[in-house]
Amino acid sequence: MSEFLQFLFSGITIGAVYAMVALGFTIIYSASDVINFAQGEFVMLGGMCTVFLAAAGVPLPIAALLAIVITAGVGAALCKLAIEQARGASVVALIIITIGASVFLRGIAQVVFDKQLHRLPAFSGEQPILIGGATLLPQSLWVLGGAGVIVIALHRFFRRTLFGKAILAAAQNRQAARLVGININLVMLSSFALSAAIGALAGILVTPITLTSYDVGTMLALKGFAAAMLGGMGNPVGAIVGGLLVGVAEAMGAGYISSDYKDAAAFLIILAVLSFLPQGLLGARIRERV
């Protein structure tokens, strides 16, 4: 029993990270139909910027805040300099641009930062919490809490604020949204900045547990993508559910089956979802009307 609990804890912690990456996918997808494969690099930038700012003597909370702002800026720049320039290109072309951006950001990170691994101190100590024979790090609670706060804030943002509704409207029908006076470019720009900021926050929260380096983004992006697909692309709650499920599936697979095939769990999920459940668990079942 205690081992089951232990696998569950470790699955949920890692799952929360996947969930935050999936949320980033979801927001950009909602606003623009683009799947942004540079999402993992936002996570990397969040962690790396914080590490290097902290090393330069900036207090940790301020370093974290700055890292989020910087990463949001990078997200906005990606939208402005790459996505917006390719206006009118097909969605597939835009997705390929984001893959290019991810390679570019990884390259830049190697030069601006370095190729070493880095870690941050845990925010509230490293003494594990004992629950029913299993242990949980305080930092895991930070990660879970961070994911929870983000999803609630997003939910409110999309349902309660005019701008959030404008993003949803733009996602539904760009032409109609433009006709009622929604600034599509601004919607795009802010959705990139927002998902970059969420990615950065995820990166900062997990760095004390998982370490960071210039190339952590690739795998996170793939796992986050699997999570977003599983939950239903475009649905924030689905992203969280999908992320947690992928994380738990991985940990259970590693614990009970074989750790050799840990990464296979996420990819099996992608394949299964694409073949049997293309809308995902909670995806909107929208039919195109002709």
Binding site: E3, Q6, F7, F9, S10, T13, I14, K115, Q116, L117, H118, R119, P121, E126, P128, T135, L137, V206, I209, T210, L211, S213, V216, M219, A251, M252, A254, G255, S259, D260, K262, D263
Partner: protein
């Protein structure tokens, strides 16, 4: 028709003669050409970069001191970026175009294995800087290597375990090249060393949570110690997870993480962890009567002063390779690859950064277990286990 043909022929003959003379002239004035293919950039740059820097620095020093046999060394380095196919292409170029007389290089086992057939065929001595035991087992006439093997690390660890009364262990290995190879060696060396492996788990090189695997090891009855062959981020995370799960048996790491970075990444969790490492890591801590001390201290000081970065054991492998070759050339008193090969094989009592080297026709590595020092991390510092 005939006359113009004759004219063409004599032109060609003349050109060939000139070309021959020119190339002969160049060769006479040429330096001793030593080649190297290293992963200076790319994923394995942590190996190739310090190796490249070490070779350049010491070739410069040897030349400043008058060179070898009165001739200067010319070092030709190509960057394979860790790609075995590229390494092979560059090896061909070194042999056919650059006309090297010996090779010191090959950062990874993959690159080395790709290049070996070329050097064996060209009969040019090749001192590899890679870890894999397959490089020298079975023995190939022209292939040598300087770094200790994974099997030696396993034996050193098992020796320390036995001394502490440990005989049943759990193994958790990275599934990257290093972890995979060492896991295999440790499993095959276990029985002969009186060690029983009760649990055998693995993790991916990019994994960031090993608590499930460690939980399984913890729940395996009878495990007295855990050994983690791995490289890069994995071992640091294993160490942190190990502490998180409060597993109260000793944790052993491999020489793959023998760098300050590991202590930094694993933090307090690394306290009490033991691992085998080359003497270079604890150069200043060695007792003064240690015959290896002056070698490692001098190399470390020279490297750190010149490049302003911490010394690594990988650069040390290049140091050993270059000086084994240089001494062999001196002893051979000839630039003929065959004679140099014979003298490399005759290397006896050479003290390098990796340890004492005594090569023979059946041992093209020549290191014994004294090459490794058993270290324990105490208060964030390496300490020698007596």
């Amino acid at each position: 028709m005939t006359r113009s043909f004759m004219g063409l022929r004599s032109v060609i003959a003349g050109a060939a003669l000139i070309a021959a003379t020119v190339s002969w002239a160049v060769e006479a004035a040429a330096d001793i050409k030593i080649g190297s293919v290293l992963a200076v950039t790319g994923r394995a740059s942590f190996l190739g970069d310090p190796e490249d820097k070490t070779l350049r620095m010491y070739v410069e020093r040897i030349n400043a001191a008058g060179g070898l046999l009165g001739q200067k060394i010319e070092l030709v380095v190509y960057d394979s970026a860790g790609d075995a196919a590229k390494a092979r292409t560059f090896a061909t170029r070194l042999i056919e175009e650059d006309g090297i007389i010996a090779m010191v290089g090959g950062s990874s086992t993959g690159e080395t294995m790709a290049m070996i057939p070329l050097f064996e065929e060209a009969k040019i001595p090749f001192i590899s800087l890679a870890g894999g035991i397959v490089i020298i087992e079975p023995v190939k006439p022209y292939t040598f290597k300087t770094p200790h093997t994974d099997r030696m690390a396993c034996q050193k660890i098992y020796g320390d375990m036995t001394a502490r009364g440990i005989s049943k262990i759990g193994l958790i290995s990275g599934s990257g090249g290093f972890g995979k190879s060492m896991r295999k060696q440790c499993l095959s060396a276990a029985k002969a060393n009186g060690i029983e492996v009760l649990a055998d788990e693995t993790y991916g090189p990019k994994d960031n949570d090993m608590t499930p695997q460690l939980t399984n090891i913890r729940n395996t009855a009878g495990v007295q110690a855990v050994l983690n062959p791995g490289f890069g981020q994995g071992p640091a995370i294993v160490t942190a997870n190990f502490k998180q799960l409060s597993i109260d048996v000793p944790l052993y790491q491999s020489h793959g993480v023998a760098s300050r970075k590991y202590i930094e990444l694993a933090g307090d969790a690394s306290e009490g962890v033991r691992l085998p490492a080359s003497a270079l890591l604890v150069a200043e801590n060695l007792p003064d009567d240690d015959p290896q001390k002056s070698i490692v201290v001098n190399y470390k000081k020279a490297y750190e002063a010149k490049w302003n970065e911490p010394v690594s054991t990988f650069g040390g492998h290049a140091y050993d390779g270059l000086f084994i070759l240089a001494e062999a050339i001196k002893r051979a008193n000839s630039l003929e690859p065959g004679k140099i090969r014979d003298e490399i094989e005759n290397t006896k009592g050479f003290m390098g950064t990796a340890g004492l080297v005594n090569m023979s026709a059946s041992d093209h590595l020549g290191l014994d277990l004294t090459a490794f020092r058993m270290l324990e991390i105490a208060k964030g510092e390496w300490t020698l286990v007596k």
